[in-house]
Symmetry: C2
Subunit: 319 residues, 2 copies
């Protein structure tokens, strides 16, 4: 049986500006896609503003500094009736709290379809590694020029989401698009890419609580209430020096949110491997999923880099 | 609060052929989009077959006869695990009964988003008047030639869904696309269009039960269980000659399905007006919605031709 929770079309009260934003805990794809989509809308004659639903991470900061451009405006919600464009997610749980009261004009994404609507809209999600790969096509289809700044934003997100084409989420289309964009951006994709990814692994300025929340996704593993968080690093051992503090922080969040499982995945972006700290009453799901023992709360995830492809579906299957 | 009922990705057991189909009670857009999409997939090197979930209506029959081509294969469901492409609907209630057990590869549509998935896919719905307007863009984007037969199928569906551009669902893009296609199809769009629409109004071969079911959509008006059916005609009075029999049939369906409302809309495609027979305990929703009295079970719907734009949302609002 299907249940529909329909998002009603509301009157656009503050006629005019369309707000564009990605998911909470924004990553490079969410931030750059907001900027890139706002530019496209403006070129098509629509008044639009890029926004963000959270702090900029170190990797995205590297990209914005490289280009010398400002981060989108931080918002917590949008006035009821506002026209919005969602990028990089259609998941209401990752969006503004009053999503059902705004008017969704478009969705551009590369994830699962996570909402239903009561009204027709422009909804485009494609099974590629990055929203910017879809954005590139939108620019082409609309005959809008991709300048050096836009190309750099786009290619940065593709590098980020595909870990320089090493993630199993990466498609041939992502790689071809990124290489095309690198020419316009005038960057050496390997050098720029590794510098950008490494900038993203700098955790020195963050508190333990912030690290646990940097890229945390609340996910239902069947009936199990879970968080699967992920950080990238150039050295897993370096991150595991904080293990005791991370565990204390994770236990606190488990108690506060009534979680069955908290999985904190530490991914080595150079070696394309991960380890995860796993806590909670349902921690054994990870043992079953990967046929590995959890030793001292840590499980090895050999060859795993993608939460979307190599963790979430396997964990759901074994829950 | 949102509820997700996720459609799980299943193994594609009968590897190979992708089945393509539109909604139950297929109209010209559903049938032609299945054929047109199957052709595109084949041109892109994918093994695909156009199917249908119900009988061909008189209008679609006119189109297929004009072209001398066969109707797609009739199916009731698809084997679990089959790869499918949905056209002209994403609504599980209008699709095969085991939709949650097949693998949805793509959705091409122009209606609301009506399902969520657990996996990424190609999902493209645009707020235009007809699925074929989106299909036209897919052909262009993929550099696939639109031949005379494909153009005729596409333009027929646009004429059908927009009632020759008179429906408020018709966008400038639909009209421009249809006119472009009419050239390739080598048709006089007004003459061909009116002949095709009139062929669709021929009810002579149908039983009362069939007429009530020709284009019937089960719709929840808030908590009210309803059917809103529609027929096109060149003379509303002609259809109303069957009023007593239609009412008997409607009452039977109301009792069988436990409906709160059955609205049978008769649309004059020449004059762009409608009248509706309204029965059921919640019939007064229509009076409130249109500020018109129901007289002898019939309500006047002045200037109304589109169920999607001028009936369903207004009825939901007043339920």
């Amino acid at each position: 049986m299907y249940y529909y929770v329909e998002i009603k079309r509301m009157e656009n009260k503050n006629m005019g500006k369309t707000l564009i934003f990605g998911h909470k805990n924004p990553d490079t794809d969410s931030i750059t896609s907001s900027i890139v989509m706002a530019n496209l809308e403006k070129k098509l004659g629509n008044d639009a503003e890029a926004c963000r639903l959270g702090n900029i991470n170190k990797e995205t900061e590297y990209v914005l500094n490289y280009l010398g451009i400002e981060a989108p405006r931080l918002i917590e919600d949008a006035e009821d009736g506002t026209e919005v464009i969602l990028v990089d997610t259609s998941n209401p749980g990752e969006s503004i709290p009053n999503l059902e009261n705004v008017q969704i004009k478009k969705v551009i994404d590369h994830h699962r379809v996570a909402l239903t609507t009561a009204y027709p809209l422009y909804f485009r999600t494609e099974p590629v590694g990055c929203t910017e790969t879809v954005m590139y096509k939108l620019y082409k289809e609309n005959g809008v020029e991709i300048d050096k700044t836009i190309a750099t934003l786009m290619v940065s997100a593709i590098i980020s989401d595909t870990l320089l084409f090493k993630s199993p989420t990466c498609t041939a289309e992502d790689e071809a698009t990124a290489k095309e964009l690198a020419k316009i951006a005038e960057i050496d994709i390997d050098k720029y890419g590794m510098d950008m990814l490494k900038a993203g692994t700098d955790l020195s300025s963050f508190s333990i609580e912030e690290i646990l929340n940097l890229d945390a996704k609340q996910t239902s593993l069947k009936d199990k209430n879970s968080i699967i968080a992920q950080v990238n690093t150039a050295s897993i051992d370096e991150v595991l020096k904080m293990k005791a503090d991370l565990e204390t922080g994770m236990k606190k969040i488990i108690a506060e949110k009534g979680l069955d499982l908290f999985m904190f995945v530490i991914t080595d972006i150079v070696e394309s491997n991960s380890k995860a700290i796993v806590l909670g009453n349902s921690a054994s799901i990870a043992e079953k999923a990967y046929n590995e023992k959890i030793i001292d709360n840590v499980i090895e995830l050999k060859g795993v880099v993608s939460r979307k492809k190599q963790i979430v579906p396997i964990m759901i299957e074994n829950a």
